[in-house]
Symmetry: C2
Subunit: 322 residues, 2 copies
């Protein structure tokens, strides 16, 4: 593998807000054998509902604007990093392609942290079983999980399935609005950018594009399960909707794909320009829901980058003319 | 800022184990507006108690072995990244100094994920208030939090205090053993290395060194609050214990520093070679517990690197002789 030259790297927290806890009892706790008999006072000031972002700026930049990557439900930004089977992920590939790359951990996920305070979040976090990952990530039918028999022609690296399961994290079902608000804070810090979201993150990306049309110059929704049903600020704005294989082999996915198409239609109804990249129709067969991890992930990224490069060129021309 | 040349970067999950959940009721849930009426089945196979690691390999390496960084309690690996006041963190500084750098998120923290399964972990996660961060991180007395009045001469970048609070994450009190086990898995993947742990991570580093003496070639414990009370495999092995300022201004820290010194004594009693870097005694005044974030963090790292470079040289000589 060749070397890569970075102009910079770093991380930051974005968004969130203060909450104040009061009237809760203190408690004597032990942090460790060496740190016992400590009086824990839960009352006080906290920050919750922020997002974490890590970024890498390549020395030579080939796109005018950076790309912001937003993971899906039950996952963190690590899904864009090294694949479970040790191949290079989209994050590193984008950097090597000369793209400034920002990877977010959404509210409650990964390094963004979660709220463990009385009375803040409703419901409980749900964890995803290997069986649910198998079927929801469209690697194969749930009934074929025990035998680890994937769909015929699946591009998912089967030997790495357990490592994908180790990457999944619990999720609340009630934080959609907080996650979108923190992602709005992210793009306000990053500035004009291309927003790429996967699954739940694809719907979030569309919602953020609607709130910050001047900042989100292009939206890529990778297998979103729906998004806003109405766009009022999409006029003239580009979106790419990407969809993999085996959709019709799974009832849930048939339904989710329909919901995604309704959001894409709403984007067009709002005057937006939406392209669809249906991978099987382009001759790319076998993609799971985790298309950034599939064996042909670099080819999928090639297609996304072709689209982004075209947007970027017209955008750069526009900037040059203005 | 000058460019930096990387030979490689990546991430991986380490350790953890499978658990199986059965006999739990299914539940109809809604992931989002576009993804409702889904039957969630909590029964099945899960992975829990793994660690997440992100690494960067500089093109030109100036130490024979990589450094593994382990964060403290209520924090994630992000504490080694960009400082809350936007200065370069130890992670980037180490890479720029030519050190292969591995940053771990321990079990339950950050991208390692936490277990949200019935009957797995006992107790509940505790979140750290701004007030507790203020006093436990020795920025100032708790009574002086409201006025944001730090200790005289504090090196902590006060204007960034809220951003530090945004980096804190909840913690369970019951996962010490699982965290140490996953860190053992980390060093088994990384191979021979120098292990640097902060606070709770400092105690963990000592424990991992005791379990994998062939892999952990040097241990740096930054303000650990204690560690093992007995070492049987420390003979001839180097450790550096680093301690900041204002210890005697806080009752908790007076106690924690005593506990840390007992562990350092145990290391020596086991035949280990322990050096102490008492920063005020070296003329570095004003360091908080978050010494990797303090204004003089680069100077603190200079001192740690001087020690590590000496160990590295003798280690390289040993390798050359064998």
């Amino acid at each position: 593998m060749c070397s890569m030259v970075l102009g910079g790297m770093g991380s930051f927290m974005a968004g969130g807000h203060r909450v104040r806890i009061s009237g809760e009892p203190c408690e004597d706790i032990s942090f460790s054998a060496g740190f016992s008999d400590y009086r824990y006072d839960p009352n006080g000031e906290y920050w919750i509902e922020q997002s974490y972002v890590q970024y890498f700026i390549p020395h030579q930049q080939r796109l005018a604007l950076p790309v912001v990557l937003v993971h899906g439900g039950g996952l963190t930004g690590s899904c864009w990093e090294t694949h479970p089977d040790c191949r290079m992920g989209w994050q590193e590939s984008l950097i090597r392609r000369g793209v400034s790359t920002y990877v977010a951990d959404s509210v409650e996920r990964g390094r963004a942290g979660f709220a463990a305070l009385p009375g803040t979040w409703s419901g409980r976090p749900l964890q995803r079983s290997a069986e649910e990952s198998w079927s929801l990530f469209r690697i194969g039918k749930r009934a074929d999980f025990a035998a680890r028999r994937p769909f015929d022609g699946s591009q998912f690296p089967l030997e790495a399935f357990d490592d994908l399961v180790r990457q999944t994290v619990p999720r609340w079902l009630t934080n959609t609005e907080a996650q979108i608000a923190a992602l709005v804070a992210v793009v306000r810090i990053v500035g004009p950018c291309y927003l790429v979201g996967h699954s739940q993150g694809g719907g979030h990306a569309m919602a953020v594009a609607e709130r910050e049309p001047e900042l989100v110059r292009a939206t890529v929704a990778l297998e979103p399960h729906g998004g806003p049903s109405r766009f009022e600020r999409a006029a003239g704005r580009p979106m790419l909707h990407v969809q993999g294989d085996f959709i019709d082999r799974d009832d849930t996915w048939t339904r989710l794909a329909r919901s995604a198409k309704e959001s894409v239609k709403a984007w067009r109804d709002g005057g937006g320009v939406a392209d669809t990249l249906d991978l099987p129709r382009e001759g790319l067969m076998g993609n799971s829901h985790m298309l950034m991890m599939d064996r042909n992930s670099e080819t999928v990224l090639d297609l996304v980058m072709q689209w982004l490069t075209r947007i970027d060129a017209s955008h750069s021309n526009l900037e040059a003319c203005s």
